[in-house]
């Protein structure tokens, strides 16, 4: 078995003159969940479909299980499970008919009813797919993508449109597959989803990977925050490692790479002067902060290369 299940190097994808993916490099190791985050139109789905082997890369190299998924489709495809962004069901087929059709289309599939049981759709098996709710369709979709116990699973926004409970159930299902050794490539809008599930992640922006690594590596790229309010006439703050913003109303916003020591200094300062810090909050950067930083870095110079990019 290959240690690297997916290997993407210098991949570019164009639609006519528009380049949706502009030179992307990443790899996914066996058994890990790799999350691809990004704004709408960042190129996530195009990149995902290239790795799935649904379209060829315009330039660069894609390898899945060490093979080109487009050129050697028949060897790669049976080992993967794909959940597309649009489910693509035939509305007039019933739920059970849909699963049965899919069972015939993939090798070594599970029992259809057991698969429906797993996603909580057993009681809907005789219903035509067009009558399912959005969440039910997505769950059926997940049941099909995992029907053949794929070694590599692609999930394109798997929980979009799900209510919180179904989302949690889907996460449990994916976590179960990970525990069995399945490798997963996931795209999502939900940062919480990536934070909970991903071993490693990449943030895409305008066709490039702006940042990638483990969750803590990615979070380390963005400063921690300390926020509080003091009376407008309070004395000046002590010298801190981070950047301080203080407005006329006494609101203070500190961005720092050394959260603990700066927080100590702030607390010492407040005790010394007997100052009340109202609404005090101190926290590590969240994925959301990182995500917004990537978005706001639009148009800054020197953002041409991926992975090595640093930003504040």
């Amino acid at each position: 078995m290959f240690e690297e299940v997916v290997d993407v190097d210098g991949v570019r994808c164009s639609y006519g003159s528009y380049e949706a993916v502009r030179g992307v490099r990443f790899d996914i190791r066996a058994g890990e969940l790799f999350a691809l985050l990004g704004t709408n139109g960042a190129g996530k789905t195009t990149l995902l479909e290239t790795v799935e082997g649904l379209r060829p890369a315009t330039r660069g190299r894609v390898r899945v299980f060490g093979k080109d998924p487009w050129q050697r489709r028949s060897e790669v495809r049976p080992r993967t499970g794909i959940m597309l962004q649009h489910s693509g069901f035939a509305g007039e087929l019933t739920v059970l008919e849909t699963v049965r059709l899919w069972r015939a289309m993939v090798p070594n599939a599970k029992d259809p009813r057991a698969a429906l049981e797993t996603v909580g759709l057993r009681h809907r098996e005789r219903v035509r797919v067009k009558l399912l709710s959005g969440g039910e369709r997505r769950r059926l979709d997940l049941a099909l993508a995992t029907l053949a116990r794929p070694e590599l699973l692609f999930l394109d926004e798997p929980t979009t449109g799900l209510d919180p409970e179904s989302r949690r159930a889907s996460w449990e299902l994916v976590a179960g597959l990970l525990a069995e050794g399945t490798t997963v490539l996931l795209t999502t809008h939900y940062l919480e989803e990536a934070e909970r599930l991903a071993h490693r992640l990449a943030i895409m922006h305008r066709g490039e990977i702006a940042l990638s690594g483990t969750l803590s590596e990615v979070l380390a790229a963005e400063s921690a925050r300390i926020r509080f309010s003091v009376a407008a006439r309070a004395p000046g703050l002590p010298v801190l490692a981070g950047e301080v913003e203080r407005d006329g109303a006494g609101r203070v916003d500190i961005r720092t790479a050394s959260l603990q020591s700066d927080l100590h200094r702030v607390l010492d300062w407040s005790r010394e002067h007997g100052i009340h810090l109202s609404g005090l909050r101190a926290r590590q950067a969240s994925l959301e902060d990182v995500f917004h930083a990537v978005r706001e870095s639009d148009g800054r110079p020197g953002r041409g290369t991926q992975q090595e990019v640093k930003f504040r």
Binding site: L54, R79, L84, G88, A90, E92, V106
Partner: protein
């Protein structure tokens, strides 16, 4: 892993079954598929004599080729594409070619079944006439393949199932108009014989009222249909899409 890979053997039957289910659950298609051959069969009972036999049989064959094969292939493939169903099917083990062939095979088989019914009635009514069944078979097979491939090609220009009512008109005109013209004017109508409808009609004529040089005529007709099929293949290769068109 020791698991067998590649296309599972059950894939094609399952695709055919699902597609047949979908076709029959679409009321328009279901009604056309069952009523059309019956109505056409009834029409035949009104026909008498060999002079009417060629136009009557030809128009029945052409109507089924035009509606059950060409229109159905265009409409269903377009709507399957627009609802992302084609793309989904491409995500499984079978190759895209297997998927496409299976989806097109269903209307084609349906048409062959309808034609079998209609022609069985027709040949019984025309019983005193000597009929070369081989030529009829050739007309049915070559015509079905041509219309099916042309249907696939037409989806490239069709943005929705409703839009198919417009995009299918030119070829339906060539098929039914060419056939009607050729049937009325007779074998002398050279330009009309070059239309797909004219070629099918001529094959029917070879079966029912063979004149001199039947074999040359048959070869010409088959060449014409092959030419149209080839043209459709070339167009389909360039324009066929697996993903929705906006």
């Amino acid at each position: 892993m020791s698991t067998p890979l590649g296309t599972p053997r059950a894939a094609v039957p399952a695709l055919l079954r699902a597609e047949l289910n979908l076709l029959l659950r679409n009321r328009t298609v279901a009604v056309t598929a069952t009523l059309l051959p019956v109505l056409l069969g009834l029409l035949l009972t009104r026909t008498s004599g060999p002079s009417m036999a060629v136009p009557a049989l030809a128009m029945q064959v052409l109507t089924i080729l035009g509606f059950t094969v060409y229109l159905t292939v265009t409409t269903t493939l377009t709507s399957r594409r627009q609802e992302h169903y084609l793309k989904r099917l491409c995500c499984a083990a079978p190759s895209p070619a297997t998927v496409l062939n299976s989806l097109v095979l269903v209307p084609a088989l349906l048409a062959v079944a309808q034609l079998a019914v209609v022609l069985a009635i027709g040949l019984r009514l025309l019983a005193p006439l000597r009929v070369e069944v081989l030529f009829l078979l050739l007309a049915v097979l070559a015509g079905t393949i041509c219309c099916a491939v042309m249907g696939v090609a037409t989806t490239g220009y069709t943005s929705s199932a409703e839009h198919a009512q417009i995009t299918t008109l030119p070829f339906l005109l060539l098929l039914l108009g060419g056939g009607a013209g050729s049937a009325v004017v007779g074998q002398a109508a050279q330009p009309l014989r070059l239309t797909p409808g004219g070629a099918v009609t001529d094959l029917v004529r070879c079966a029912v009222a063979p004149g001199d040089g039947v074999f040359a005529a048959t070869l010409t007709d088959l060449a014409v249909l092959a030419g149209w099929t080839l043209l459709a293949l070339l167009v389909a290769r360039r324009t066929f899409r697996w993903e929705p068109r906006s």
